[in-house]
């Protein structure tokens, strides 16, 4: 119970810190403008106005969310080390795994708030066009959020032993690999190189972020089944656990010089 309270204190503080970050405010502004811009794009499409707005809107939520997840994932922990605020925290009766858990929980909170606000904004814009609330978007947006949690955990993993630049680079790289892993796998299956085939199909099986993309389905009214949502969520939980456990192992013996 005390452990949970300590994790909560770190999470709350990380959340407040992120809330005051000007970079996120500016990025949020850009995302809002992008959704408004989708209205104009919708106007030039043939009877597809609302679909274009929904598609671009969700893509914007995903894009902005990934930016926030990477930015916070690689900076949140590093800032504590850079400004040496970690000294005061480590000197308290709190374990390093609790610190990392708190940081991660803080990121989950801020990402959830960001996605929630963007979703409200998207619903406002779509309501303006079709005068109704399309609840069918929610599973897709839910999976976008879960995908962001994975990206944030990867950012934490890299920042537990590397600099923000490298961590950001690796996290963004891994995210892109995850997003194109289906294509990578298909490409690998056609390859003559045994090792590339093994690697490409392996990556596709282990790290496939396309599983979190239900956007086309919900926009084009293709049926979404329960397992389409819950299986990726279970897969995400498994992935996050592994990534966080690896981060703990690296972080627990790190010298904070």
């Amino acid at each position: 119970m005390k452990s949970l309270f300590r994790i909560w204190m770190i999470a709350k503080n990380s959340f407040l810190e992120a809330r005051h970050n000007k970079v996120l405010h500016i990025a949020g502004g850009f995302a809002a403008i992008l959704i408004i811009f989708s209205l104009f794009l919708g106007q030039v499409s043939l009877h597809q106005n609302v679909k274009v707005v929904k598609d671009i809107g969700m893509a914007t939520i995903s894009l902005f969310g990934v930016f926030v997840a990477i930015f916070l994932g690689v900076n949140s922990l590093y800032r504590e080390l850079q400004y040496r605020t970690i000294y005061s925290i480590v000197s308290k009766p709190i374990s390093r795994s609790e610190i990392l858990m708190g940081k991660f929980a803080g990121m989950l909170m801020i990402l959830s708030v960001v996605v929630f606000l963007m979703t409200c904004y998207l619903y406002l814009v779509t309501f303006f066009i079709e005068h109704r609330v399309d609840w069918a978007l929610l599973p897709a947006i839910g999976l976008i959020l879960v995908e962001l949690w994975i990206v944030a955990s990867i950012g934490i993993f890299f920042s537990s032993f590397s600099t923000p630049f490298l961590s950001g680079f690796f996290t963004a790289g891994l995210f892109l690999v995850g997003r194109v892993s289906s294509e990578l796998g298909a490409f690998g299956e056609r390859s003559d190189d045994f090792f590339f085939r093994l690697l490409a199909t392996g990556v596709q099986k282990v790290f496939d972020l396309q599983a979190f993309n239900l956007r086309s389905e919900v926009v084009h009214d293709i049926p979404v089944y329960t397992q389409d949502f819950w299986l990726p969520v279970a897969y995400a939980a498994f992935l996050i656990l592994i990534v966080l456990f690896s981060s703990f192992q690296l972080f627990k013996k790190r010298d904070f010089k």
Partner: protein, 319 residues
């Protein structure tokens, strides 16, 4: 009772596997007793902060052992009894003083209801009463140092570890920090602090340890450390030059300065205070009989700065 015990603590840094290893702490051993103010002295790069970081598990030792309250440093209950202020601390500037202390108090497991009554008390103790609702970004360096002290004592710890607590403080701020340390000691708390401001150490410390280049040079009671070193007497005399020269030779007095008066120095040659005083009296009598006039006599005792400089050596030798 030993509150803190360090045994053969060493720390070796290696930037990369191809770079040369650098030993920043070399088999350091010392102990701190309950209820004392312990000064940890050394020039920049001596290893003071490294030792403190090891004690708080901010970094890990390469070898050796440290115990707090008789338990290994990684025991969770030991950290509950420690308060710590880092050197040149940076705090979350978006928080108010109240929010900042609630955060740190929360990490010690203190309840919000307890903190509501405790925070004003602690702020008053560090001279920051009435600043509860001010954001830390509006605090001066001295105020940040004091709010840092407040978070270190919010849970009423038995041992307070302060890394260069006087850095950046004006004379008034330094005095207030010194007074706070004395106040903590009067409440039975132990204070362990690192510094290179020797006058602060001399005025409040019970015991000190001197560290240089990662090695412990000496450790002990402040009075012992200061008095074991050489003392001397400066005698300023006036008289005929030939007589004084003869007198100086017979009493092994060293001529330090000569103008209207001659200043001679009589060194203590590992004599106890009685023997040394007898020799001074004898030398004085002889000088008077030789027709000299005594202008002044000054007992010189090595202060902490002299001891420190002797042990640490000149800067050139340290580089």
């Amino acid at each position: 009772m030993k509150v803190l015990e360090v045994q053969a603590l060493s720390k070796i840094y290696r930037q990369h596997f191809w770079t040369k290893a650098r030993k920043v702490l070399d088999a350091v051993s010392f102990s701190v007793h309950q209820g004392e103010i312990f000064g940890f002295l050394g020039p920049n790069g001596a290893g003071k902060s490294t030792t403190i970081k090891i004690l708080l598990e901010i970094i890990f030792p390469s070898s050796g052992e440290a115990r707090l309250f008789g338990q290994p440093i990684h025991a969770a209950e030991t950290k509950q009894r420690i308060g710590f202020l880092a050197e040149n601390p940076y705090f979350y500037d978006f928080l108010t003083a109240q929010g900042f202390l609630e955060f740190h108090g929360g990490l010690y497991g203190l309840s919000q209801s307890f903190l509501r009554s405790r925070i004003p008390e602690v702020l008053e103790l560090v001279g920051m009463k009435g600043t509860e609702n001010i954001r830390l970004r509006f605090f001066s360096k001295g105020m940040l140092q004091r709010i840092g002290l407040a978070q270190a004592i919010i849970h009423d710890p038995d041992l307070v570890i302060l890394d260069e607590p006087m850095t950046g403080l004006d004379p008034v701020g330094r005095k207030e920090v010194r007074d706070l340390m004395i106040e903590l000691k009067s409440r039975g708390k132990t204070v362990f602090f690192s510094t290179h401001i020797l006058s602060d150490v001399e005025s409040i410390c019970d015991r000190v340890a001197i560290l240089n280049l990662g090695k412990l040079l000496s450790c002990g009671n402040l009075n012992e450390l200061v008095s074991v070193d050489s003392k001397y007497v400066d005698l300023v005399l006036a008289g005929t030059e030939g007589d004084l020269t003869k007198w100086a030779e017979s009493h092994q007095a060293e001529l330090i300065h000569k103008d209207e008066y001659c200043c001679y120095r009589l060194w203590n040659r590992q004599e106890n205070s009685g023997q040394f005083e007898a020799r001074i009296n004898s030398a004085l009598r002889a000088a008077l009989s030789a027709g000299a006039r005594v202008h002044s006599l000054n007992h010189k005792k090595d202060n902490l700065e002299d001891v420190f400089m002797k042990q640490v050596g000149q800067l050139e030798s340290r580089v």
